[in-house]
């Protein structure tokens, strides 16, 4: 939706915001609820696939530059500082390293990584206007305030750059630290004066168009079409199956004192299938969309 930016999120971005929101709540919520190696790995894989299709490989790799060190930190840190667990492997710095702590570290590192990747996708899909649409009717004035802030930030950046250029014209490039501090203070004060002046005009423009006249409605461009309805139904029913499974006890692993999980029977298989479907739904839908474009010879 960004003007001029690369547009990748085609399928999901065009869905109704409530569907997007439901999907992310389901994916992130289930990842958090299921503490199980398979669940964590599947969520990370699904999220990464979705991110690659939505944001491109380069952006996803950028996310991983942050995710990988964090993964290692938790995976290594947990067994070093946590000595619970019955299966003692060896001594390090006079402390027992346990198998359970190693496994728990790996699983929680994986879960946390998955959540970060999912949130990166969330940011791409849930632009400010969608968020405001979902929550704007509850608090229209707060929604307006957020909108105005979002409008204000780029303007503030530009003004700050202009002021810095003008200041350089007048006083040259500051050399010493005291000069630099002085320059920053001066710039801030100019920026403040300019912004206040601008705010008066903005307020005039709002009053001229009847701000405060009636309870505001919040306008939007979204439609709840049949496609959105179908996806919504799928997300809700799959999430319901997973929730039921999780309540029954599937998709959860005890680590301490000993690793223990329910055996995989028919119920477990059903939950696994639903879980996989939720985690990969985003990626599959985006892939399907890309395939449609290719088959029509319309690739970018």
């Amino acid at each position: 939706m960004e003007h001029g930016a690369k547009v990748r999120a085609r399928y999901f971005a065009a869905l109704h915001p409530s569907v997007c929101m439901a999907y992310f709540v389901a994916a992130i919520g289930l990842t958090l609820a299921c503490s199980h190696p398979a669940a964590a790995a599947l969520s990370l894989a699904g999220g990464t696939a979705f991110s690659t299709l939505l944001r491109g490989g380069k952006e996803t790799a950028n996310t991983y530059k942050f995710v990988l060190p964090m993964f290692l930190l938790i995976a290594i840190g947990n067994p070093l500082f946590n000595h619970r667990g019955a299966t003692m492997l060896f001594m390090l710095f006079d402390q027992w390293i346990t198998l359970e702590a190693i496994c728990y570290g790996l699983v929680s590192a994986c879960t946390l990584s998955a959540i970060i990747v999912w949130f990166a996708c969330y940011q791409q899909v849930m632009t400010s206007d969608k968020f405001l649409y979902l929550f704007g009717n509850v608090a229209p004035n707060t929604a307006l305030l957020i909108t105005m802030t979002l409008r204000f930030i780029p303007k503030l950046k530009k003004d700050a750059a202009d002021i810095a250029a003008a200041e350089t014209m007048l006083n040259g490039k500051p050399q010493r630290l005291t000069q630099k501090l002085g320059a920053v203070m001066r710039r801030l004060s100019v920026l403040l004066t300019m912004s206040m002046e601008a705010a008066v005009e903005t307020a005039d423009s709002m009053r001229a168009r009847g701000y405060g006249e009636a309870r505001r409605t919040t306008f939007h461009l979204f439609r709840f079409d049949t496609r959105s309805a179908a996806i919504m139904a799928a997300v809700l029913s799959l999430a319901a199956v997973c929730t039921a499974g999780r309540i029954y006890g599937y998709g959860y692993m005890e680590f301490y004192p000993r690793i223990y999980a329910l055996d995989t029977d028919a119920g477990g298989a059903a939950m696994l299938a639903a879980y996989v479907a939720v985690m990969f739904m985003g990626a599959i839908l985006e892939m399907k969309e890309a395939a449609v474009w290719r088959s029509c010879g319309l690739t970018e």
Partner: protein, 537 residues
């Protein structure tokens, strides 16, 4: 019955000594296009804000204003908001929200209309103004012209009966200004919305207006049908200040002492042919420019782009500036003019080519928004800041720039012309002697332009070198020692103004368009008038 009737009002700002409006009366009929004109600071904005109750400044008012037969004070607030649209000068500061579609809907949201109704109205607006291609853009990514068009559309979406515009084109370049005024004209002609506009660019508004009202020092000194009012103005003793603001057709014909004054270039061309028959003037001979000195600023084959993968903005631009020279750099939007300035003054660095500045010269750029230079609360404070506390120097500079009466004013309260002069004064106090100006005439009325030009010429006489980027063809023709044309990242032509504009058919002054064939070589109204006078004798 008149839509708006202003009846003999006086208005005094709260805390002010004298009144800002004196016995002002004006009528606006349903569907009428009314132009309100006058020098800056004559009370135009004060007057039009009396008609928009939400924006009326604090103060005391005598006399009556009625809207559709209702006293404006007791007008239903909902009606006032919807039926009287208001567009201000600054395109940026009026925008409230982050997306174009949301901005269009803002007023309708305030009215509490349902999403379905708003959707239809917003779609209508986007279609009427041809906004479809940028409908989903973020507002900050728009050009100034698009922003102002959006503000206009936002007001129109409320379905007003009267649209008030307060110098809507002051911050726009001529092309964007033309588009905006065309849109205003369409709104008036096709939708029958009454328009009250204050504007300096008379050449485009005069032909469209049904009525003009001229203000001076808080009074409406003349009003009526445009042609007649202009004629009366030119005949009466008020010629001095207001006359500068008249368009070239009016000035030429008034100077020739004609009764019938044309308002458009076409009418003036035909009128001149009628008057002169087959007579033709000798080509105007102009003394060759005296520039011979070595350039103080010399830039050769500058190449620049903003990021490594982007397109080149400067493609081998050459420019040189001599001592005592005022050069105007002209060219369309996106030709790279402002970028060239930023490279010349060192804010950006060319990746190929060099900028050479003579020893002992100091180069400064006046930014497009001169207010970015202001750090103090008073005019004197500003100048003292630049003179490092030397009061004598600061006061001498104020004297020279005709700012001495304004020592205690806040820099933000100055008129456009005064703002420019104060900013230039600050740079001069920093010993700048090579000045780069970015659109110095933007938003100035004709008189302020003249004042600025005189000041710049004065500086040049004292040895300064000035390069001004401008869209103002008339300004360049009248005052520049040399003009340069920028196109596609390079300077494609340069020369003395007569030689530069004289040969052009399209990119030239109105005076040259009117009289290019009967008085060859003339590029200002004054030259055309004097050549034609000689022919008529």
């Amino acid at each position: 019955m008149a839509l708006v009737r202003i009846d003999g009002i006086n208005f005094t700002y709260a805390g002010a000594k004298g009144p800002a409006l004196i016995d002002a009366s004006l009528e606006i009929n349903e569907g009428e296009y009314v132009l309100l004109t006058g020098a800056s600071g004559c009370g135009k904005t004060t007057l039009i804000r009396q008609i928009k109750p939400e924006l009326t400044p604090a103060g005391t008012r005598e006399g009556s204003i009625t809207y559709d037969g209702v006293a404006i004070e007791s007008l239903n607030t909902r009606r006032a908001a919807a039926e009287i649209g208001f567009v201000q000068q600054n395109p940026d500061n009026q925008i409230v929200t982050d997306y174009v579609w949301h901005e269009l809907a803002f007023g309708l949201e305030c009215m509490g209309l349902s999403v379905g109704v708003i959707r239809r109205r917003v779609a209508e607006m986007a279609a009427f103004f041809g906004m479809e291609s940028w409908f989903r853009s973020k507002t900050y990514a728009l050009s100034g012209g698009q922003k102002q068009l959006l503000n206009l559309a936002g007001a129109l979406a409320m379905d007003p009966r009267l649209l008030i515009l307060d110098e809507p084109t002051a911050m726009l370049d001529p092309l964007a200004a033309r588009e905006l005024l065309d849109a205003v004209g369409r709104i008036n002609k096709e939708l029958g919305v009454a328009v009250l506009i204050t504007e300096h660019r008379l050449e485009q508004v005069l032909p469209a207006a049904d009525k003009i009202a001229v203000m001076e020092r808080g009074r409406i000194i003349s009003q009526g049908e445009p042609r007649e009012t202009v004629r009366n103005l030119c005949r009466s003793g008020e010629r001095d200040r207001l006359f500068f603001g008249m368009s070239a057709p009016v000035r030429i014909f008034a100077a020739l002492g004609r009764e019938e004054l044309p308002l458009t270039v076409r009418d003036a061309r035909l009128g001149l042919k009628d008057m002169l028959g087959d007579k033709k003037a000798q080509p105007l001979s102009v003394a060759a420019p005296k520039i011979s000195a070595e350039p103080v600023l010399n830039a050769k084959e500058l190449w620049f782009r903003y990021d490594a993968k982007g397109a080149d903005v400067l493609r081998g631009a050459d420019i040189s500036l001599c001592e005592g020279e005022l050069m105007c750099l002209l060219g369309g939007n996106g030709a790279g003019k402002s970028t060239l300035l930023s490279v010349l003054c060192g804010l950006n660095k060319a990746y190929r080519g060099k900028v050479k500045l003579d020893n002992g010269k100091k180069l400064c750029m006046l930014p497009q928004n001169a207010r970015t230079l202001f750090t103090a609360d008073t005019v004197l404070g500003e100048l003292m800041d630049a003179s490092d506390g030397d009061e004598a120097r600061a006061k001498a500079m104020a004297e020279r720039l005709e700012l001495s009466g304004l020592y205690d004013s806040h820099p933000y309260d100055l008129s456009g012309g005064e703002t420019q002069r104060l900013a230039i004064g600050k740079l001069l106090l920093r010993d700048a002697n090579v000045l780069l100006l970015d659109e110095p005439t933007k938003g100035l009325d004709a008189y302020a332009k003249l004042q600025l030009a005189n000041m710049l010429k004065g500086l040049c006489k004292e040895g300064a070198a000035i390069l001004a980027v401008t869209h103002d063809v008339d300004f360049a023709a009248q005052y520049a020692d040399e003009c340069a044309m920028m196109f596609d990242g390079g300077i494609i032509s340069r020369g003395e103004p007569h030689e530069f504009f004289g040969g052009n058919r399209f990119y030239t002054t109105d005076a040259n368009r009117i009289a290019g064939d009967v008085a060859p070589g003339c590029i200002t109204s004054g030259e055309v008038a004097s050549q034609c006078k000689k022919l008529l004798q």
